[in-house]
Assembly symmetry: C2
Homo-oligomer: 195 residues x 2
């Protein structure tokens, strides 16, 4: 076989999430045919990221430093700790402009089918972080699908057992929505959680 | 910013075809969180492929050698030259078991919207290859969408001008199909091309 290097590249690309054989082939051919500079840039970026990126020792998000910039920011309210699943969820909360507390990033959520239980999602690390003597309220901001809800429930139980105040982001009708077009389970939740 | 290496990785992944910001983020997080070995393997495979893979000087497909194994195979019929768009199309023809001639791989097709004209698709290289004195018939096996048809027409014109016999894969009803479920333009073509 005089295409061993190509096969190896296609195999390696297939390990990316959401990439099947056809996509991996298309990516490999595209890089070799039209963007060899991009391929080398990607190779360097991969090595560099693996070498530099680690987890913030306080909030567990990705960072190159020991502690990330958000955790070091003295203007943030150390009494509030929001638990999110991913850096993207953290960014969404930041963009909302409604939160100025600290974060804890799970980097996942409980997913029994994938073998990710309460231990794998880093509950010990969270309990330790929340017990710093400053945190007064842990806001569970995991997603609102089945796995996110299970994660929130498991974390709430463990956090409350340590005597911590635990809240959950409100479920309800999205801002700006016409009720007519909101799905029924959201309306049902909004009725239950009415204020 | 203590996430420069992460941002650089997301940017580099976005250059892959079909990958947007969200997918690139998901890929980067997945690699850093769950598959750092896979990330390093991908980095090595990229460098290796860029360094080793070049184009066969006869058929233009990807190969690590000067001339690919198919072009060197003495059992293949040198009088037939099939023109395909990609190595995947070549593989499909091979799997059909109905072809034992040579190949020319365009590595693309004419696509005016992407700035790929008849020159970019390598027509000079094809004309030179087809003029080796052995080729008696060029079989155009480009795809049957608009761009593939335009490509086939442009190549046919240039090849016929050099006095070469040019044929095109037959359009028609797929083997095993119920006519009832075949789309109408396919039936129309099958009527026109009836034997």
């Amino acid at each position: 076989m005089a295409e061993r290097a190509l096969e190896a590249l296609i195999d390696a690309l297939r390990r990316l999430p959401g990439v099947g054989v056809k996509s991996a082939q298309r990516m490999a051919w595209h890089l070799l045919q039209h963007d060899r500079a991009g391929a080398l840039r990607l190779a360097a970026a991969l090595s560099d990221a693996v070498q530099r990126m680690r987890h913030c020792t306080r909030c567990h998000t990705f960072t190159e430093a020991e502690v990330c910039a958000t955790c070091l920011d003295p203007r943030r309210d150390a009494r509030l700790l929001a638990v999110v699943e991913t850096p993207a969820d953290q960014a969404a909360l930041e963009r909302s402009g409604g939160y100025s507390g600290m974060y804890f990033v799970l980097m996942g959520r409980i997913s029994p089918l994938d073998g990710i239980g309460v231990a794998e999602v880093g509950i010990e690390r969270l309990l330790e972080r929340a017990a710093d003597g400053l945190v007064e309220e842990v806001i569970l901001a995991t997603s609102f699908g089945a796995e996110g809800e299970v994660t929130a429930q498991a974390l709430a139980q463990a956090l409350r057992a340590r005597g911590l105040k635990v809240t959950r982001l409100a479920r309800g009708v999205p801002a700006g929505s016409e009720l007519e077009y909101v799905d029924l389970s959201t309306i049902a939740y909004a009725l239950v959680d009415r204020r």
